[in-house]
């Protein structure tokens, strides 16, 4: 493909590593996120190292009214867009909050706030008859657990949305990929107790690029999470509801 790659939530370590690999092979990139100053530093790094075309813009999941302008800017900047990587996400201090504003915030930043932007991309790709949309879900979205179920339900909802989109776009030439990471060594997990088999963002970035290039509709990263989550999903609810996970 020749068009640009749009990375939303480009400041995340996984997205950063994916961007590095894409820039290394000469792809044009549009990095969008809530902290454009930080993204300017990332873009500068890619330009110094690989000399490619990198543009930066502000993406705010809490401000859907700004999404059409951002989308127009991306097209304006590169002429054509053919892949989107949605890496925006937010765990926050209370991923299982019952009250207050946090549940709504978690839902918006991991799910509902992402849809207007992805919807614009999906409609564009559907009209063109080609494109790739990759969304980062989470293994936390595969089953509701007391420790993080608000975050998990947002990620699970996002995975369902991607699934429905995949169904709708089937046969149009547009691929929709759901990428479900387990633990990755980022600020989200740094210093948290009880984590195991933590993967590096470098490996995650490489897996993201592979998933963009082709392969299955649903990608667990690292792959063994596919087995772990299959087992966890297989536990009958009457037993699962009493478990401390």
């Amino acid at each position: 493909m020749s068009g640009a790659v749009l990375i939303l939530g480009a400041g995340s370590p996984m997205a950063r590593e994916a961007a590095r690999l894409l820039a290394q092979r000469g792809e044009a990139l549009f990095l969008a996120g809530h902290d454009p100053l930080e993204l300017e530093r990332l873009a500068a790094d890619l330009r110094v190292r690989w000399g490619g075309r990198v543009a930066v813009g502000r993406f705010d999941a809490l401000d859907p009214a700004s999404h059409p302008a951002l989308f127009a800017r991306v097209l304006d900047e590169f002429g054509e867009l053919d892949r989107v990587l949605m890496a925006s996400g937010y765990l926050g201090p209370a991923p299982a909050a019952l009250e207050g504003e946090e549940p709504g915030r978690i839902l918006a930043l991991n799910f509902s706030g992402l849809l207007p932007m992805l919807g614009l991309c999906a409609a564009h790709f559907e009209r063109r008859g080609s494109g790739v949309i990759l969304g980062i879900g989470s293994v936390a979205g595969d089953r509701g657990r007391q420790s993080n179920f608000v975050y998990g339900s947002a990620k699970g909802g996002f995975a369902l949305w991607l699934q429905g989109l995949r169904n709708r776009l089937h046969g149009t030439g547009v691929r929709v990929v759901t990428f479900k990471p387990g633990f990755v060594d980022t600020a989200m997990t740094f210093g948290k107790p009880g984590l195991f088999l933590v993967a590096s963002p470098e490996a995650a970035g490489a897996a993201l690029v592979r998933a963009l290039d082709g392969g299955p509709d649903i990608v667990y990263f690292p792959a063994f999470w596919c087995v772990i989550m299959a087992l966890i999903r297989a536990i009958p609810e009457r037993i699962f509801k009493g478990m401390k996970l």
Binding site: G11, P13, D35, L37, E38, R41, L42, A44, D45, V48, R49, P93, T186, A187, M188, T189, F190, G191, K192
Partner: protein, 444 residues
């Protein structure tokens, strides 16, 4: 986002001492502004307690490693302090640029290299790394983000270069890279049967080279005391594609038992090493990596010294006292039977302007010793005494045991450094295990 905090047992590269500490790891540049009193830590290659803070909080810089600008006309690279020298060299060597100064490992960060004001095999010509830094940005505890350089707030700059991270977190560094004709060196070796001969070789104008270092056999005694091989290198042109591995070729997966580097094995290694390298008296071509970074080929080579770890002792003696001082140091080390392989001797050029920078004109000796408790401490005290008598000093980024009085006597520009420390950190928020041991941040 709130930064997660990890608690861990942390040590320097020598794996001695080991302390309890907390660590944060920011992923955004402006996070650094919210961490006053937090000591920066890079790749953990300082040997002793420079990048440790017992019960304190360290700031891992490894996620702040972006290149921000490169000017091909001047060679100035601007980058975040968590970037490793290995990445810089791997990226720029194919474009015809190399590090202006590099220590004996490429697995150090730019910020760590500046904080220790590292020198390399070209110190006699090119000085320390700070001599190639037009400016840097440092997040000071009380004065906020400051940009400084030899022209702009020079006091802060010369207190930060070599300041062991104690003036603040170095965030961004501008480094003037050096143009090289190709990714190769021409290397030549000269054997020396004893200390007198190696000092003569260093003084011989016919052997002037941009890079020079001597490997010295610290276990050789008597007439062979100071037996060494002088290694000289210069950049040469050649086809591209010289290997420059970005990661170690081989990992030492676990601690070796202590006897592996016992005196017998090291004596054997040293004899073989001497015989092989003393023969290479004809110029030969070498890639940069094996000449500058012989030990980088083995990941975690520090595990070879076993669980108790080791200390590296590096001192410099002024030329006038070097012959006598080095002889007495080598005698003390060889009679203690404290095994050390790959000990190095090098002639240093004039001192730079960093208030706490290590190099002064003379000869520097660096050697590793397995840590064996009180016996090692006694030897270190004896060596410190010999260095003091000779008017020399020890290198803080290797050190773990120097006492306060000896430190003050060795670093006469301490008062100038303390004046800057008082300005940017009047409450003394930013400390390290090293600064508390040396009294560096008391009375600041």
């Amino acid at each position: 986002m709130d930064l997660g905090t990890a608690t861990a047992r942390i040590s320097g590269w020598g794996r001695h001492p080991v302390v309890n500490g907390r660590m944060v790891r920011p992923e955004r540049y402006h996070d650094l502004a919210a961490l006053p009193g937090t000591l920066a830590r890079g790749l953990g290659r300082s040997y002793g307690d420079a990048a440790l803070s017992q019960d304190g909080t360290l700031c891992s810089m490894l996620r702040l490693n972006r290149m921000l600008a490169f000017d091909a006309a001047t060679g100035v690279l601007v980058a975040e302090a968590g970037l490793s020298l290995a990445e810089i060299a791997a990226q720029f060597l194919p474009r015809g640029w190399f590090l202006p100064v590099t220590p004996g490992t490429k697995f150090v960060t730019l910020g760590g290299a500046l904080a220790a004001d590292v020198h390399g095999k070209n110190h006699h010509l090119d000085g320390c790394i700070s001599a190639h830094v037009p400016w840097l940005e440092v997040f000071t505890p009380a004065a906020g983000l400051r940009r400084c350089g030899p022209e702009q707030d020079p006091d802060l700059f010369w207190a930060t270069a070599g300041g062991m991270g104690l003036t603040g977190i170095i965030g961004t560094v501008a480094l003037r890279l050096k143009p090289v004709p190709g990714p190769w060196l021409e290397v030549v070796h000269r054997p020396a049967r004893d200390l007198d001969q190696i000092l003569e070789l260093f003084a011989d104008p016919a052997l002037d080279a941009p890079y020079s270092v001597a490997w010295i056999d610290c276990l050789a005694k008597g007439a062979r005391l100071g037996r060494s091989v002088l290694m000289l290198g210069r950049h040469i042109a050649g086809e591209p594609g010289a290997p420059f591995p970005a990661s170690p070729r081989f990992e030492l997966p676990c601690d070796l038992p202590a006897f592996c580097l016992g005196a017998f094995n090291v004596r054997l290694f040293n004899s073989v090493f001497y015989r092989i390298n003393a023969r290479k008296t004809q110029p030969f071509r070498s890639a940069l990596d094996p000449f500058f970074y012989p030990l980088d080929a083995v990941g975690h080579w520090n595990r070879a010294y076993g669980r108790r770890g080791f200390v590296q002792y590096q001192c410099v003696l002024p030329e006038a006292s070097a012959r006598e001082g080095l002889r007495r140091i080598l005698e003390a080390v060889s009679s203690a039977g404290s095994a050390s392989f790959l000990a190095v001797l090098k002639k240093l050029g004039d001192a730079g302007r960093g208030f706490l920078s290590f190099p002064i004109a003379g000869f520097t000796l660096a050697l590793d010793m397995p840590f064996r408790g009180e016996a090692t401490l006694a030897l270190l005290r004896q060596l410190d005494e010999l260095v003091l008598q000779g008017g020399g000093r020890v290198n803080l980024c290797k050190d773990a045991h120097l006492g306060r009085e000896a430190f003050r006597a060795m670093y006469p520009r301490l008062d100038a450094w303390l004046a800057v420390k008082r300005r940017v950190d009047p409450e003394g928020l930013l400390t390290s295990s090293l600064s508390r041991r040396l009294g560096l941040t008391e009375g600041a």
